[in-house]
């Protein structure tokens, strides 16, 4: 058993304990009605939000994401696809087979593909070119739903876990990488659609909220770092593992836009904007999200 699997099993049993403890705590906690009478000039004092924060911390320690890292690791090393090969020759930017530290240095420009690629886009590329999967098949159902976990999500969670504790260093050396950043910034600020929204409508100012949800300002280093952390993430709402591909997709849904292509250049450029803005911070690894 690899160390990652062992940790995952420990995490799983920890999670079960946490859930039981949380259930007990919930019953014991003051009813909502009483909470509603409390002083409520800011959401920070909202007892529901405070409760959530506490839960978040406990869950973070249990780290359910590691289960998915273990799944992804096994998948990475297994011979699969029409060509029956593993992904161990996949070049994530640091040379064929090098997984350690690759996630925090993507998106980057890949000369072999002639494209900007974020981690998941690159994984899809490797699954297609090395293993013989069809890109259209992988794009059909790219997001977790119920018990369904798409392969690229498990794989990107493994790849991301191999950058845990490392500094975010999304490259801007090449002209293509600088162009991607600038195009990403334009996409971020582009207002259109029936509600005149852009990404910046919600994520362009410090200290704002939608309902009780705090919104990071992605144009700043601190805000971009907050968004970069925790993905791929185990989302407590629905209990599903999601990657940044899903996050971007659901943001565009709420922006009232049409749907962005899965693992498209648009998303790669947006993630370049996000990643470069987050540069210099330590990546804590796959995590947990509301």
């Amino acid at each position: 058993m690899s160390s990652i699997k062992l940790r995952a099993v420990v995490a799983l049993s920890g999670l079960a304990l946490v859930c039981a403890a949380q259930a007990a705590q919930k019953e014991a906690s003051a009813p909502r009605k009483a909470a509603a009478h409390a002083k409520k000039d800011t959401a920070a004092k909202d007892p529901v939000a405070a409760d959530f924060e506490k839960f978040h911390e406990i869950m973070e320690e249990a780290s359910p994401a590691e289960l998915f890292e273990a799944k992804g690791e096994e998948m990475w090393k297994t011979k699969r696809g029409p060509k029956n090969v593993s992904l161990e020759k996949c070049d994530l930017g640091l040379g064929p087979g090098v997984v350690k530290g690759a996630y925090v240095k993507m998106p980057r420009y890949f000369a072999d593909a002639g494209q900007m690629m974020d981690a998941e886009r690159r994984i899809v590329y490797c699954m297609v070119t090395l293993q013989g999967f069809k890109e259209a098949d992988l794009a059909k159902k790219p997001f977790s739903k119920g018990s369904y976990l798409p392969d690229p999500v498990a794989l990107v969670t493994y790849v991301a876990g191999q950058s845990r504790g490392m500094k975010i260093a999304v490259p801007q050396k090449l002209a293509q990488e600088r162009d991607a950043y600038n195009i990403g910034r334009e996409i971020f600020n582009y207002r259109a659609g029936p509600w005149d929204f852009s990404c910046a409508s919600c994520h362009g100012e410090d200290g704002k909220r939608i309902r009780t949800q705090n919104l990071p300002n992605l144009s700043t280093n601190e805000g971009a770092n907050r968004a970069f952390q925790g993905w791929p993430g185990y989302r407590m709402t629905g209990g599903l593992m999601h990657s940044l591909q899903w996050r971007m997709n659901d943001c565009f849904r709420q922006q009232r836009f049409p749907a962005p292509g899965y693992a498209s250049e648009t998303i790669a450029d947006l993630l370049t904007y996000l990643g470069v803005n987050a540069n210099g911070n330590l990546y804590k690894g796959p995590g947990i999200k509301r």
Partner: protein, 202 residues
């Protein structure tokens, strides 16, 4: 016609000023999105096309020259369709439900379904919830502090119908103009803010 010409001239001048950079990243971004996106459910591809107002706001980074802003605000105000019966106040209880309801206009929403106003996403309104956003200003005690006159009612109706008529690059959607909310729904929201019996004014 004159205002339309002024708007077009303004947009053209801005476009020239802002695309005179060495690289047209904005143009590349738009082409890329049009290539990479696809229609899903009710969200068709034409949603990626800017209208004249969105274009001015995008080109000017939401800070258009004053003269252009005033002209275009005037154009936006002309789009507001006020109720034929001249009455602005609906039912504040229905308004509260609309304000709480965040559904509508996404690709996962069904065509023909009543939309919500998503008001609490960005505004404090009533006093009995802590779950409100702060992208917009607090509307608590709106009528109490501003009065309940017909002029205020008309202003609130217009503001919800087309927020851009009052502040050109406001973040607030144009709920009437975009067909999100019906006349009756907007009246109900006006009542939520301006009925003296609404909890907003207690």
């Amino acid at each position: 016609m004159k205002t339309l010409q002024a708007s077009i001239f303004g947009a053209a001048a801005l476009a020239i000023a802002f695309t005179a950079q060495a690289q047209d990243y904005r143009g590349q971004a738009i082409s890329m999105m049009k290539r990479d996106f696809h229609a899903q459910g009710i969200a068709r591809m034409d949603r990626l096309d800017e209208d004249a107002l969105q274009q001015i706001c995008n080109l000017s980074h939401n800070n258009p020259p004053k003269g252009i802003a005033e002209t275009l605000q005037h154009d936006q105000l002309a789009t507001v369709q006020y109720p034929a019966d001249g009455k602005f106040l609906g039912d504040w209880k229905a308004g509260e439900k609309i304000a709480q309801d965040g559904r509508g206009m996404t690709w996962s929403d069904k065509a023909g379904q009543a939309n919500g106003g998503s008001c609490y996403n960005c505004h404090q309104i009533g006093s009995d919830t802590t779950s409100f956003g702060d992208i917009g200003n607090s509307l608590l005690h709106f009528g109490k502090t501003r009065g309940y006159s017909a002029d205020v009612q008309k202003y609130v109706y217009g503001k919800i119908y087309n927020a851009k008529a009052y502040s050109l690059c406001s973040k607030m959607p144009r709920f009437g103009h975009s067909g999100t909310l019906t006349e009756q729904q907007i009246k109900d929201l006006v009542a939520l803010l301006l009925d003296p019996n609404s909890p907003v004014n207690k």
